[in-house]
Amino acid sequence: MESLKLDVKIGELKLKNPIMPASGAFGFEMESLFDFNQLGAIVPKSITKYPRGGNATPRVCEVTGGMLNSIGIQSKGLPYYLKNILPQYEQYNTPLIASISADSVDEFAEMSEIISKEKCVSGIELNISCPNLEGDGKAFGMDAELSYQLIKKVKAVTNQSIIAKLTPNVTSIQEIALACENGGADGLNVANTMLAMAIDIHTRKPKIGNVLGGISGPAIKPIIVRLIHQVRKVTEIPIIGCGGVMNWEDAIEMILAGANAIQVGTANFINPLSMMEILEGIKRYMTTYQIEDINDLVGKTDIPV
């Protein structure tokens, strides 16, 4: 095909293509593997205001079709992030989405305001869904009203495009999605990991130091596809599909379900070149099926009536 249109928009944020890494499963350390300029966006690991030690090891374990993790957002704190992490990416012409994790609504707003001022930041993802922190796996994103307040407060202090990263561990993701949209979110990330647990039957100990962890990888893809489909039914704002994308087929599946862009996490650990291969696969698919603009595929599942 003459020219494929791969660019997508999330609020004011323009991406040259829909493929980006998932926070926590990507870093500057991968820089020798492929050209970060090829990515739709750069998404560094979630940052917290204060340094955090993270959780007890083991922090990962393998399960059928995926892995559990409970890193606990190990972080050197915001000042270190601004000084040492962000500048690493200044050399790329790829927009950077900063992922923020915080303990309170006010802290989310405070951090968003600070990070917004960084020249190299083009968007902010609010990790309101991290299941690893205090409170038995609970997260802001489990409460619609809290999510609404949080987004609203953040939007009040920044002009950046704001993406709310939702948790899949809820009864109605539609309710949370709408709350975030009403709060002013420019996009929704569907979704973070699912809360899970694994036990070593010989030692009788949890396989994860922190007892509970989040499951990522292909095992959760069908659940995430369903969540994207459900969210797309109630809102028109951009969705970033995330969870279990291992190859271009998975990415197309999520786009058909309603995602405008795709984040790739665990796949980077299995095949660090997967984001590049996914991009190539999407182009081949578009050429085969004569799709000129990737946006024309969004939500285009043929649902029987």
Binding site: G24, F26, S32, T57, T64, M67, P218, F269
Partner: protein, 261 residues
């Protein structure tokens, strides 16, 4: 670091529980140091899901081959034994920081347990090439487990074997052994891998004798590239205890600084 698809030259069982794999490695242009490792996709299939980390066991720069020695442990290593010569294996690496041989170290002591032997073998090889005298205490459950270590003797390493089977592997015996070796030899540095108990012992002895030491650690890994912070361990620094990545800042650390818990 890159994704390498290397052709397997051989993959054979060398003892009851250990296998040895040799691969064509001319496509690896980066230098590979003892103590560094590769994160290996043990099967083409989806399962096992994660890669598995294995440190380099031997490098032949002339032949352009690399070798691994691995213990059949669980799903991943079982699958790896199915690989046959001619097939390609996907290995990400080289990864991490390896061992350093100080310029003035003309005699070194290696203390390895189990698969730790594989990791220290690469170091022994480099030491021998650099005409450094190498004394290695190898500890294992059985003598059969130590079959794989015979290559070290072939290299000219002075090997002392201790096993549960022979009742020689308890910490106090190893302690006596090391003290004796320290008397008989002018050991300049110590290296260890594979056992927390033995590492603690060597940490103590090295400290007492004022010897520099290095240790290769193992931790469950997600990315093995330094991005996920799955594999951390604690390191004592001037500013307190820091949590660092085994896959990136390690797997080899200053023995003195490692918090062995």
């Amino acid at each position: 670091m890159k994704v390498n698809k290397l052709e397997v030259l051989s993959n054979v069982q060398v003892s009851e529980r250990y296998w040895h794999m040799k691969l064509e490695a001319s496509s690896i242009l980066e230098p590979v140091k003892p103590g560094q490792f590769f994160n290996i996709k043990c099967a083409e299939a989806d399962s096992p899901f994660l890669r598995r980390p294995f440190s380099i066991y031997r490098m032949n720069k002339a032949e352009k081959t690399i070798e691994f020695l691995y213990l059949m442990k669980g799903q991943g290593t079982f699958k790896l034994t199915d690989v046959v010569a001619g097939e390609k294996v996907d290995m990400l690496g080289p990864l991490g920081e390896g061992f350093t041989l100080g310029k003035t170290w003309d005699t070194v002591l290696l203390l390895a347990r189990g698969v730790g032997i594989a990791t220290l073998a690469a170091l022994a090889q480099e030491a021998v090439e650099k005409h450094v005298k190498c004394i290695a205490i190898l500890s294992a459950r059985t003598n059969n487990d130590l079959l794989a270590a015979e290559m070290l003797q072939g290299l000219g390493v002075q090997v002392i074997k201790v096993t549960e089977e022979d009742g020689t592997s308890d910490v106090s015996n190893v302690h006596r052994l090391i003290e004796q070796l320290l008397i008989e030899n002018d050991i300049k540095a110590t290296f260890t891998c594979g056992s927390k108990r033995l590492s603690k012992l060597l940490q103590k002895i090295s400290k007492n004798h004022g010897l520099p030491g290095q240790i290769a650690l193992e931790e469950h890994m997600g990315c093995a590239m330094g991005v996920c912070y799955a594999c951390v361990c604690d390191i004592k620094e001037e500013n307190g205890i820091n949590s660092v990545r085994v896959c990136k800042e390690g797997p080899v650390f200053n023995l003195e600084k490692v918090v062995l818990g």
